[in-house]
């Protein structure tokens, strides 16, 4: 085989029926003529102008780019061809690397009889042309490189480094495609335990192969390649694949940010030690397949060369120290274009552990603590005689009796009079490992003197905590519930009617007295959930008999059941009630963000717009949220930034930049030191609010992140998005905890219960789901096989129906969803209400809001899903 490499190369194309190679003879002829034309053009311009003209008829205008940079070496090349100058020839062919240039050229341009230029012209196809041009470019680069190497005095190491690049680049499209195909075949045929890791590697290989093909002008090959193999990657990289689908020209590659990133950056792939060994073995041809043995002399060898080139040049492989195969969560959270996502060049683990976070609850001044204790003691003392500790509270919340609560109450009762000390927080909630921030670190700094609302809020928080229903699966000490069953939340659904799909946001106030719904018609609707009328306060008119206009007395009108806030000029994407009063009393202000690029502050006393915050320009503001202590708020926008504002200024205070695409959502850490953002680039970040620096980067989602939740205990972050899966992250160690799947559509909202044990999610699949935060989770496929096979429902029908009725009616079989992870505690489907917002009251009652979609308007969506389900 190796005795006649040229013949092998010429025969190789016939192996690939799918990707026919262009005519080698023609190619060679074309290239020679082109080189000649250049040679005469530069070295012997006047002498053989006639020939140059003749040849450039076909070739001259075809490669304008190559013409300029190829001047000097191509001149030498021309000499070789034209006059046969011996010296120049020697310099040219002292090629670096293990394989001499000449043989490479021969393989790519096999010997064949010459054709006249006139017969060639009609056989030139764009594909052919691209290939010829490509070879010429590579030759010229090669010659340049060798010239440079000569000048440097034959630096051996440098040559060796160059070698693989140059060899790899002398491949034609079929070799690249074949290389990728070979890799996939190898992976698919390999052991299952390594498959996930190697599969992960195949995505960058796919992208680079595709971009290479586009870059060299093999447009048809590129498109065929893309269509054949893209479906495999669509599940895990939906955004990237849809971006690549639009790329069809070299110009697109140059202007597309994703393509530029992937070309400029090294794609990081984590591999376990064993997998890495396997990969190296395969790449070096030590595998069992003999095809590779032939090396560059065979098509298969060149195909592998293509993969090698991509692996060595464009992928950075991080090998773990263990040989344990990596799980999917690790793979997803550690691979990707990490370098460009991080401010400094360091591995993601190092970046994520560089800063220690203070995740503890915010401190409380001693005075406030003392006052709270006093207030509570007074209250208890006044209630004790009646024995009415767990009576109906001022909020009118429904009293939810539970065994645990009674137990708790009986525990508390003997204690409080004797010890005369109110526990501000149950001991279990305190985690000694969490560092609390200093008093002046929070936003705003904890004031030395507290105000009345602060006291009210904190007292109410304690009350809430006492009356809270403990949710979650039973623990060992039997704290939660007496039965072995998990205690699940009660869920109230607030269904909007006649709103269709135009409801774009919904929000509940902390004290559960108000619901606000933003619509795509740019209005905000406010309802009182207690059935009260919303009364508008206004300054008393001067015309009244009372003389002093400045006495500030307010009058209320008779009120309306619903208030409409008009001010925005685009869909309202996010709403936030101010947290100043906690759950003690209704909020006084509300923020809203809209497509028109503004954030508006609304007074809930006068139902009017107080302030307009512009700062994101014309870019829509996707999300807005008040800081946990009011005054400050954060916004997320399409302009790829999140910003921090103070409500008394109309310009932003901080800007958090780093996301590579839109920032979709923003959430404060409960101690206000950190800000979590989720972005369209499928990542979540945690920012230091004060410094404006990114302190954590969470990778793993496969599509845009649209919602986040930080657990009330400050330790966890949950994120979910268009990929319908929910990820749980540990903020302190920055590790992904688990991935929870089960939703069949994008998740719109997440909330943690007050003790951070049960996560509730609502999605566009019109279900509310409860997740166990603490359990390990993991895959638990619940296929149809569990439901008694083919006719599992038959028995149920027979049992319930009368004799003499045909069993053609609707079956009783449960249509449980295909797969979900083991930590899904419960699923509550609604009739036709996609969930917009989930919310936990401080006492762990869950509230969800959604807009009912009438069957007629939703029929299209139903039809679509029907098609996919069958």
């Amino acid at each position: 085989m190796s005795e006649n490499p040229a013949a092998t190369a010429a025969a190789a194309p016939s192996n690939h029926a799918a990707m026919p190679r262009t005519d080698a003879k023609l190619l060679r002829q074309f290239v020679i003529e082109y080189l000649q034309s250049h040679g005469f053009d530069k070295a012997l311009a006047t002498f053989q102008a006639g020939i140059a003209e003749q040849a450039s008829g076909e070739a001259g205008d075809k490669d304008a780019a190559g013409e300029d940079d190829a001047a000097a070496p191509a001149g030498g090349d021309g000499e070789r061809r034209g006059s046969g100058g011996a010296g120049a020839r020697e310099a040219m062919f002292r090629a670096p690397g293990p394989v001499p240039l000449e043989s490479i050229v021969k393989r790519n341009i096999p010997q064949a009889q010459a054709l006249s230029a006139s017969t060639m012209s009609d056989k030139i196809t764009p594909e052919f042309e691209a290939q010829a041009r490509y070879i010429i470019e590579q030759l010229q680069k090669k010659v340049e490189a060798s010239a440079a190497a000569d000048a440097d005095g034959d630096d051996g190491t440098k040559e060796l480094k160059d070698a693989p690049t140059n060899q790899e680049s002398l491949l034609d499209p079929s070799d690249r495609v074949e290389g990728y195909r070979g890799f996939r075949t190898w992976v698919d045929g390999g052991l299952d335990i390594w498959k996930a890791e190697l599969d992960n590697l195949s995505f960058p290989l796919f992208v680079h192969t595709f971009l290479d093909l586009i870059n060299f002008g093999f447009l048809k090959s590129a498109r065929d390649f893309f269509e054949k193999y893209s479906s495999h990657h669509r599940a895990l990289h939906p955004q990237d694949i849809s971006t690549l689908a639009s790329v069809s020209m070299r110009e697109h590659v140059q202007s597309n940010p994703f393509c530029q990133r992937i070309l400029a950056d090294k794609y990081v792939i984590p591999l376990s030690r064993n997998t890495n060994d396997l990969l190296l073995q395969w790449l070096s041809g030590a595998g069992l397949d003999e095809d590779w043995e032939a090396g560059l002399h065979s098509a298969a060898g060149r195909a592998k060369e293509a993969i090698k080139g991509i692996v060595f040049n464009n992928i950075s492989i991080h090998v773990t120290t263990t040989s344990v195969p990596l799980d999917k969560i690790t793979l997803a959270s550690k691979s990707g274009l990490i370098a460009s996502a991080l401010p400094s060049a360091m591995p993601i683990e190092a970046f994520n552990t560089a800063t220690n976070l203070k995740l503890g609850p915010p401190p409380m001044t001693d005075k406030l603590k003392e006052q709270i204790t006093r207030t509570l003691r007074d209250e208890d003392a006044s209630q004790q005689p009646n024995g009415n500790i767990s009576g109906a509270d001022a909020n009118g919340d429904v009293e939810m009796a539970s065994p645990s609560q009674d137990q708790q109450a009986t525990e508390d009762r003997p204690k409080s009079p004797t010890v005369q000390e109110i526990k501000l927080e149950p001991e279990t909630d305190r985690d000694p490992t969490l560092v609390s921030p200093d008093e002046n670190e929070t936003l705003p700094p904890i004031p030395a003197v507290f105000r009345l609302p602060d006291l009210k809020r904190e007292v109410e928080a304690i009350r809430d905590k006492r009356k809270m229903i403990r949710l979650g699966p039973p623990t060992e000490d039997g704290k939660v519930g007496s039965s072995s069953q998990a205690v699940l939340p009660s869920v109230v659904a607030f269904t909007l009617f006649d709103h269709g799909e135009t409801a774009t946001s919904a929000e509940f106030s902390n004290d559960s007295s108000l619901m606000a719904v933003g619509s795509s018609e740019s209005t905000i609707r406010l309802w009182s959930l207690k059935g009260e009328k919303l009364k508008k306060k206004s300054r008393q008119l001067i015309s009244a008999t009372l003389a002093d206009p400045l006495d500030g007395s307010l009058i209320e009108d008779e009120g309306l059941p619903m208030r409409k806030l008009v001010g925005h000029s685009g869909p309202v994407y996010s709403l936030s009630f101010d947290p100043m009063y906690g759950s003690a009393s209704p909020p006084s202000t509300m923020l809203s963000s809209s497509q028109d690029g503004t954030v508006r502050l609304w007074s809930l006393d006068t139902y009017s717009n107080l302030v307009v915050y512009r700062g994101h320009g014309r870019d829509p503001v996707w999300d807005v949220e008040w800081g946990p202590m009011g005054v400050y708020f954060a916004t997320a926008s399409r302009d790829r930034t999140a910003r921090l504002w103070s409500s008394d200024r109309v310009t932003p205070l901080r800007m958090y930049t780093g996301h590579l695409s839109d920032v979709n959502c923003v959430r404060f850490h409960p101690n206000s030191l950190y800000l979590a953002t989720g972005s369209n680039d499928a990542s979540c970040r945690l920012w230091d609010v004060q410094r404006g620096a990114c302190v954590r980067l969470f990778l793993g989602h496969t599509d845009a992140v649209t919602t986040l939740a930080v657990s009330p205990d400050g330790k966890l972050l949950a994120s979910a998005g268009l990929d319908s899966s929910i990820w749980l992250w540990d903020l302190g160690s920055s590790r992904p905890i688990k991935r929870m799947t089960g939703h069949g559509a994008p998740v719109q909202s997440l909330s943690f219960s007050a003790e951070s044990s049960v996560l509730v999610s609502g999605g566009l699949d019109a279900t509310v789901r409860c997740w166990d935060v603490k359990s390990a989770g993991g895959e638990k496929p619940v296929g149809r096989s569990n439901e008694g096979g083919l006719f599992g429902g038959g028995a149920a029908i027979g049992g319930t129906e009368e004799q003499g009725v045909l069993p053609m009616g609707p079956g009783q079989a449960t249509w449980e969803e295909g797969t979900h992870t083991a930590d899904l505690l419960a699923t509550f489907p609604t009739k036709r209400t996609p969930i917009l917002k989930t919310h936990y009251t401080p006492r762990n009652l869950c509230m969800v809001a959604g807009s009912f979609i009438a069957p007629s308007s939703g029929s299209r969506a139903t039809g679509k899903s029907e098609g996919t389900s069958s």
């Binding site: 498109r223 998990a486 659904a493 909007l496 009617f497 959930l529 083919l790 027979g798 009616g809």
Partner: protein
């Protein structure tokens, strides 16, 4: 310059057409392709952006406004979009004359002028007119993790939610839905609906024609193979549930089984075990059909049903009896057990003996071949006949029905050659040996009667002289005749 090959989906022709409509120089070769590729790239960009607005609008359908916002965000001059709801585009075809044979159509959306005054006077759409604005309603979606069964919550059937196929009342079983392609599902639904018309049908009505067509389809179509497992399941389940339904329904189902069995292109063998129990049920169940029996003339009588089912059973036994050695003996033992079971206690009450069971067993046995009849009914030297005769005495008060039944069975034992004159038989002897009822029944079938007597004699003799084989018995027919 040769045209570069564009691999997008946006047609270059569109670019050419736009260019022709503009006052610009003709496009150079390849320009249209390049532009088309670029246009496609830009459209992708806009759609990618529009998708974000859709996501934040918390929808899964892309609306015109999303595209509008996207263009605004990308700083592209926005196009005027129609207000929602979008009228459905009703394209109208205009045939354009062309040189080629097949006519080409040009489609366009008619853009009528709307008179503003009259448009405003038009009544509002139903949904808008009756609506009193946006409202909300609260309900318990779950109470401590349990979803209460209130109207606001979906029923277990609806729990599917909007994302699952609605289950129509007379539609296919959901399980089949999950495993079959759409076409076969439809076929199955239609087939099963047509096979059992909702109400008793008279021959010339539409449902009856459908039924006949469905039966024909079952009998001949190869496509049944695709849904065979479901059809068999459906039939067997339906029969199981319909044993007390009006006999018409059972008759239809039996027809279906018959049709299925006679379909040459099907491989029914694996489903035999599913089809046999329902058939045996029809044959042996008492009461079959409503009890007391309805006197409607349009319904087949239980006897007819048993006859038909026995017929099918016979076919099955004939077809598969050889390949499954245990099949015939097991059938016979089941039927014999039923035949020899005591009439009381009867499922019909103390006054009504379950005559149908014995009828059915006899019928079925008679269809299983003469061998079976000889072993099961005839018994040892006609003892079985005696027993049946006794039964007949207890079962029936009038003598009409029982005759046919027994004769049917007995005729099988030895068919009468047509050219033979009827021999003279002493019926008293029959009555003596086998019972008075049989004698009554046989008073017109003298040949059979004589044969019975002869067989008994032979067997009694054969029992002494190491009984003769069956083949011999067949072989010496002439001999017997001569003696007679």
């Amino acid at each position: 310059m040769p045209p570069p090959q564009m691999m997008g989906i946006y047609p270059a022709d569109s670019v050419v057409e736009v260019a022709q409509s503009l006052p610009i120089d003709p496009l150079a070769q390849g320009t249209a392709e390049l532009l088309a590729g670029d246009v496609e790239y830009r459209i992708h960009l806009i759609l990618q952006e529009a998708k974000k607005f859709m996501t934040h609008g918390k929808r899964r359908t892309l609306l015109p406004e999303d595209v509008e916002f996207a263009m605004e965000a990308l700083n592209v001059e926005p196009v005027l979009i129609p207000p929602r709801p979008l009228p459905l585009p009703q394209f109208q075809a205009i045939p354009i004359p062309s040189s080629s044979s097949h006519p080409q159509n040009l489609y366009h959306a008619p853009d009528d002028e709307i008179d503003f005054a009259s448009y405003l006077k038009q009544p509002l759409p139903a949904g808008v007119a009756s609506s009193g604005g946006v409202k909300w309603k609260a309900h318990w979606l779950a109470v401590e993790g349990v979803q209460p069964a209130i109207p606001e919550n979906p029923t277990p059937v609806q729990r599917a939610g909007p994302s699952r196929p609605p289950v129509a009342s007379t539609s296919l079983r959901p399980q089949a839905r999950a495993h079959l392609p759409q076409e076969l599902q439809l076929y199955f639904t239609r087939l099963t609906t047509a096979l059992v018309p909702p109400s008793p049908t008279s021959p010339e009505t539409e449902p009856e024609r459908h039924r006949v067509a469905a039966l024909a389809s079952l009998r001949t179509d190869v496509a049944v193979a695709g849904i065979l497992v479901y059809v068999v399941k459906w039939i067997s389940e339906s029969i199981g549930k319909c044993l007390m339904a009006p006999t018409g329904t059972i008759g239809h189902l039996v027809d279906a089984v018959d049709a299925l069995m006679s379909n040459e292109s099907l491989f029914v063998e694996p489903y035999m075990h599913q089809l046999l129990p329902p058939l045996l049920s029809i044959i042996l169940t008492v009461p079959l059909g409503p009890h007391p029996p309805s006197s409607s003339s349009s319904q087949p009588s239980p006897y007819d049903l048993r006859l038909q089912a026995s017929n099918i059973l016979g076919k099955i036994a004939e077809k598969y009896g050889k390949s499954y050695a245990g099949l015939l003996p097991r059938l016979v033992s089941t039927l014999t057990k039923a035949l020899y079971s005591p009439p009381f206690p009867s499922p019909l009450g103390a006054s009504n003996p379950p005559a149908g069971r014995y009828e059915g067993a006899l019928l079925a046995l008679s269809y299983l071949g003469s061998q079976t009849v000889r072993s099961a009914v005839w018994g040892k030297a006609g003892d079985g006949i005696r027993r049946i005769d006794d039964l007949a005495g207890t079962l029936y008060t009038d003598a009409g029905k029982k005759k046919n039944l027994m004769i049917r069975a007995l005729i099988l034992i030895r068919s009468k050659p047509s050219d033979q004159p009827a021999p003279q038989v002493n019926l008293d002897e029959i009555a003596d040996l086998f019972g008075p009822n049989l004698a009554n029944a046989l008073n017109k079938k003298l040949w059979t009667a004589s044969e019975l007597l002869r067989l008994r004699r032979e067997e009694l003799q054969g029992g002494l002289a190491d009984s003769e084989g069956d083949g011999e018995a067949e072989g010496d027919e002439m001999d017997v005749d001569a003696r007679a």
